[in-house]
Symmetry: C2
Subunit: 746 residues, 2 copies
Amino acid sequence: MAVAELAGRHYLLEIRRLSPQLYAVCPKFDLATVYVSDAQYNRNIFFDTSPQAVRLYLLYNHWFMQTLVYAFIIVNLALALFEDPAVVPLPIWATSTIEIICLSAFSVRMVHYAKVIPKDKFWKDPKNICIIVVLSFIDLTIYGALKSTGYFAIRWSRVLRPLLLVNVTEGRQLRRAFRSIRNALPQISYVFLLFMFSVLVFSLVALKLFGKRGLLTIDGSPYFTDYLDIVFDLYVLVTTANSPDVMMPAYNYSVFFTIFFILYIIINTYTFMSFFLAVVYSNYKKHLKEEVRQLVKARRFKMCRAFSLLHEARGEGGEPVVTQTKWNHLVKLVKPNINIAHRELLWSVLDDQNKGHIGKFAFVQLADLLSIQVITVKSQPHPIQICFPSMYNSPVSRFIRYVVHQRMFVYVYDLIILVNAVFIGLDEENPVVSNAEWGFLALYMLEIILKLYATEPRAFFARHHFWNWFDTIIIVSALFGTIINSALKHSGGYTSRQILDIIFILRVLRLIRLVDSIKRFRAIINILIKIGPTILTFGQLIVVVYYIFAMVGMELFKGKVQFFEPNSTSPDQEYCGNPLLKGTTFAKLNYCKNNFNNVVSSFIVLLELTVVNQCGFTAVTHISARIFFVLFHIVVVIIIINIFVAFILEAFLVEYTIDKSDLQTSLEKKIEELELNVQQYVPFKPAIKIELNRSIEGLLLLYFSGSRTVDGLLQRMFETDIRPEDFVEEEEPENINFSNPVFDSV
Amino acid sequence: MAVAELAGRHYLLEIRRLSPQLYAVCPKFDLATVYVSDAQYNRNIFFDTSPQAVRLYLLYNHWFMQTLVYAFIIVNLALALFEDPAVVPLPIWATSTIEIICLSAFSVRMVHYAKVIPKDKFWKDPKNICIIVVLSFIDLTIYGALKSTGYFAIRWSRVLRPLLLVNVTEGRQLRRAFRSIRNALPQISYVFLLFMFSVLVFSLVALKLFGKRGLLTIDGSPYFTDYLDIVFDLYVLVTTANSPDVMMPAYNYSVFFTIFFILYIIINTYTFMSFFLAVVYSNYKKHLKEEVRQLVKARRFKMCRAFSLLHEARGEGGEPVVTQTKWNHLVKLVKPNINIAHRELLWSVLDDQNKGHIGKFAFVQLADLLSIQVITVKSQPHPIQICFPSMYNSPVSRFIRYVVHQRMFVYVYDLIILVNAVFIGLDEENPVVSNAEWGFLALYMLEIILKLYATEPRAFFARHHFWNWFDTIIIVSALFGTIINSALKHSGGYTSRQILDIIFILRVLRLIRLVDSIKRFRAIINILIKIGPTILTFGQLIVVVYYIFAMVGMELFKGKVQFFEPNSTSPDQEYCGNPLLKGTTFAKLNYCKNNFNNVVSSFIVLLELTVVNQCGFTAVTHISARIFFVLFHIVVVIIIINIFVAFILEAFLVEYTIDKSDLQTSLEKKIEELELNVQQYVPFKPAIKIELNRSIEGLLLLYFSGSRTVDGLLQRMFETDIRPEDFVEEEEPENINFSNPVFDSV
C-alpha cells in the first residue's frame, strides 16, 4: 500500500519536475493530463476535480493498484481449490483468514474509490460490491459459528465471488459483454418461450403417440410414458446429446415415427437454435454500437475538458489554441516512453499548417492518434559490420546475406520442416530418428544464426516480428531440453517423461511456422491473433458463469459420483460408488471422473456439458440435476456461446469489408505530405502498417500498425455506422451529464 | 403431351380472342406479354423471338409442362425405393422401363428447349442435362448387359439423378443456393485447410503425449497410438460426437491432460466452426446480393423490351408512351384473374397525373407492382342478414355479435384451450377425460359458429386469414375422427390406432392457436412462416445431397449391418448380424436399424449423421466409412447447415431492421393521394398490410401484404444495398448481353 501511494505521489512530482514553468502558468496541468490519459485508455470514472481527489485518482488508476486488486480477486476465487470439497484441503481457519484479507482489500479499494468520486455519486454506483462484501462477511460469520457448534452449514456466498471479477475490476470488455447479454435478454426470452412452447407441444404429441404402445428403451424402462420425462428428453435432443438413442425405440417400431423426430429436429434443433443466434447477433450488434458511440462521445468530452484547461487565446480572431510547448509536455506526461520522432510526427499531423499551435478540433484527435501503435526501429549498421567491416563486406559474406533474403531460403526451410514433421511422426526410440533430431536442431539453429547475420539483431527482434521471436524461443528451448534429456539419459539411463513431453510439444510447435509461408493462411491467422484478446474476455465471462455453476453444482452433487483409481479393487468401482448408477451407460463408459467432487473436476464437467451435454449425471439426483442441466444449457450454450459466435462473425465481417478508418488515412496523408516514401503493406487488411524509408530525423524507421486492442477493433467495427454528429466536438462540454459506467450494476 | 400443346395453343388463341383490334395494331403483342410475364416470374430464358419460337416458349413455360417435368423427376428419384437394395423390390425390367421413360421425357424437354432458344445458345447451356441423360442410358445398357450375363454390376449413374432436380427444373432458388455454395468454396477451402492443419498438428501432439503411456480406451484397445486413428478421433471431436469418451482415458490418467483437449475444443470446435459460419455467411451475402442485382437488371431489361414493342409516340415532345387500353389488355393477359378494382388501382399508381398513357419509367414498374400481393375482399352483408334481417338485427343477435368481437372472447377461449391442454395430458382411457373431449369439441364448434355468425363467411375464410382456416380444418377433422372412432368402438369394441393417432395429433395442434394470441409470439411465427418456403428450398438441397450420399453409401455399406425384428430369436441379433460389431457400443445400444440397406434407412442414418454424427458404423468397413463420414460432415454440416443458418440470420436481421421498400411506399403514397383512409398494421414489420376502409369502386376492401415469395424476400434483403444505377432504366436495352442463367453448370 505504501509503495503504491509512493508511486502515485512520485507521478505527480514527476509532472512538476518535468514542467515547472508550465505548472506555474497552468496549475491544472495535471488535471488535463489525467483527462487525456483517461480518454486514451477509455477510463470512464467521474472523479472529483479537487487537487486532492486528482492525486488519489492517479493512485487509483496506478498499474500497481490495479494489479493488486486482480491478485486479490484471483486469490479469492482460488480459495475454491482449498475449501471443502477441496482439491488440496486446508483448515477452515486458514481459508477464512485469507478470505477476510481479500474482502478487506476490496473494502479498502471501495473507500479509496469513495474518496475519488464526488460524494453524491458513490451510493449510486458501487453498491453491488458493497453488498457482495457485506454478504460474504455475514456468510463467513454464520458458517464459522455453525461449523464450530457442529451444525450443517453451506457457504452460499461463494456463488457471489465471481461477480467481484465483473464489478471490482476495470474490465470494460467483461462488463460490456454482460451488459449486452442483459440487453438481449428480453428478445431472447420471447424466442425461448416460443421454443419451450414448441417443445411442450411436441412432448404432448409424443406422449399421445408413443405412450400407449408399450415400447421399451434400450435399458428396458418404458418409453415416453411420463410427460415431464419426455419434455426433458426432447429438450436434450435439441442439444443433440441423446440423438439417436431417444429415437431408436420408435424407429424400431415403425419407420413412419421418424417423421415426428425429423420435424422436431428441423423446427427446434435447427430453426430455433438459428433464431437464438440471430437474436443474440442482432442485439449484440445494436447494443455494442450504442456502447461504442457512448465511448467515443465520452472520449471527445474528456479531450474537450483537457483543452479547456490548457487553451489560451492566441489564434487568429482570438479563438482558443494550445501551444506546441504545452502540447509536448502533455504528450510526454501521458506517454512517457514516446520518442521525439514519434511525437514530432503526431504534432505535424495535427498542426498541418505549421502554426506552432493547434485548435480544439485538432487537439481532440490526440487521444485517437495516441492509440495508433507506432513502432520505431532505428536503422543501424550491423554490429559485425562495425567490428569487422572488411569481413562483413567481403563477397562471400555478401553472397550469404543475399541468399538469406531470397524467397528460396524460406522454401528450403519449409521443406526441412515438412521432412521434420515426418520424423516427428516416427517412433523416437529408433536411434536414426533420435539422431536426426540433432541434425534438425542444428539446421534450425543455423537458420537463426544466418538470419541474425543478415539482419541487424535489434531489427530482427523488433516487437512486431512475431515469428522471429516464436522461432528463436521454440528452437532454443528445444535445444536446451534435448541437451538436458540426453544428459540425464547418459548419466543414469533415466528419462523424465515431463521433459520429453515438453520437448515433443516444442518440436510439433515448430511446424506451425509453415502456416506463415502461405499468404492466405497468414491472413486468417492474423484475424485469429486479433480476435485473441477478445476470446480472453469471453474466457473471463465463461469463468464467471462456470464458477457460479460449479459452486452450486458442488453443493448439490458432491460425493454422488466417486472416481476410483484404475488399479483400485473396490467393488463400487463398477458403478462409480453410487448404486443408482449400476448398469447405466454413464458407469459402463467409465465416466466416473466426471463429477462435482472438487472445483477442477466441476469445471471439466461443465466444459463437457458445454460441448455436448453429457448429461449422464442426471441419473443420480433426479430433478435438481435436470433443472441444473437445463439452466446451464440456456445460459452457456444458448446465450454465451452465441454471443461468442456473434463476435467472431462480426469481427470476421469487419476484417473482410471495412477499410482503414478515416483517422489513419489522415495520418497517412500527412506522411505523404511530408514527402516520405510510404510503402504500404496490407495483408488481408488486418492492420495498417506503413514503412517509412526516410525518417523525420536521423536514421529512423517507423512502423504503423492498426490498434490491436479490443476497443480499437470494436470502434472500427462500428465506425461506419456511428452517426457523424457524435464526432462533432461539443460546444458546451460541461453540459453533458455523462454517466459513470464503471460500477453500474450487471 | 398433346394436352399440353393444346394448352399452349389455347393460350395464344386467348390472346387473339381478347384483343383482336390490338393484335392487328400491334402484332408483337404476345411477345410483349411474354416479356412482362417473364419479368414478373423472374424467368431468365433467352428465347428466340420468332412467332413460332414464342409459341413454343409459352408452351415450355406452361404450368402443365412444368408439373410434368417435376413429376418425371420425382418418379425417377423414387426409383431408388424399388431398385436393389430396395424397400419394395421390383424386377429390373420394370425399373429400367420406368427409367427409360423418364429419360425420354427429359430428352423431349431438351429438344423442346432447343427449339425455343437460339441455335447457337443451346450447346452452351443445357449440356449438363444431356451428359446426365446420355450417361444414364449408357449405364443402364451396361448394367442390363452385365446382369443378364450374370456379372457383378453397379448402377453408378444413380448418383447423377438428383442433379436433374437442379438442372432440368426452373428451380431458381435451388440453383442459386448451389451457385452460392460454389462461389464460397475457395474461401471455405482456405479456412478448411488451415483447420485441417490445426487438427493434424494437434494429432501429432496427441501421439507424442499419449502414445507411449500405454493408456487403454474403455473397450481395452490402445489409446492414441496410431496417427491416422488419432486424426479421425480428433476430427470427430470437432463434431462433438465422441466427447467426452475420447478424453476420458487421458483425463483418468492425469487432470493436466485435459488442457490439451480444452485448447483443442476452443480452437477447433468453437473458433474454426464459427469461422466457417462467418465465411459462408459473408460469401452468401455477397454473392446473393450480386445475383439479386442481376435479377433486377434482367427484369428491367425485359420490361424495357416489352415497352419497346408496345409504345407509340404520343406524349408531349413525342416521347414514347403506352396507352391505358393497351396496358389494360396487357395486364389482363399477364394476370388473367385480376379484378377491375385492383387493375384500376395499379394504373392510378403508375399514371399519377391521369394522362391516359404512361412513359417508360412508369411502365417498367409494372412487374414490381404485380408482385405485390393484393387481396380483395368484397364487403358484403351477412347471408343471414339478407334472409332474416329482423332476427339478425335483434338486440340479442347484436349483443352476440358484439361479444364475439370482444378481446374477452379470445381470452375465454385461450383459457379453454389451456384447460384442454391439461385434459389432453391426462389418461384418455379415463371416462371423464374422454367425455370431456366431446365437451371441448362442442365448445370449439360453438366458437366457429359464433364467429361465422358475427363475420361474413367469405371474409372469415379469406385467403389471408390463416388461423380461421387452421381452426376450422383442425376442429372439423377432429370432430369427424372422434365420431368415427367412437362409432367403431361402439359397434365392435375395435379401436384403430391410426385413427386415434390422428385424433391425438389434431387435439394437440389446437394448442398452437394460443401462440396467435400473444403479439410477440405472433411476430416470431410470422417470420417463421415467411422463411418457410426457403426452408423448402434448403429441403431440396438437402435431398440432392442426401440422395447422392445415400446412393454411394448403399453401394459401399449395404448388408453390412442387419436389423432383426425385436421378437426375432436369431443369435446374430446381438451384434446386428456382423461379427465385427460384437461388443461395440453400436450393437449394445441397438442401433442396428441405422444401416444403408435401403434408401429410407440411408436417409435416416444421414439425418443422424447431420445431427450428431453417430459414427458407429465406421467400425464395420474401416477406411471407406471414415472417408464417407468426413466428406459428409464437410458437405452437409460445414457448408449446407451453415448456409441455412446464414439464411435465417440474414432473414431475421432483414425483418428486424429493413423498412418497407420504396416501391411499396410509393403505392401507399398513391393510395393516400387517392384520399383513402389508410390504416396501417405492421406487426413486428413482417409485411405491409394496408386496410382500405373506402374503396375505389363499390363496396370493396383491399388488403396489401408484402411479397411472400423467396425472391421478394431476397430482393428486400438487399434492396438497401443494390446500387442505384441498377434502377436507372437502360437506354439501349438491346446492348445488354445478359446471360442465360437457367441451364448453367452447377
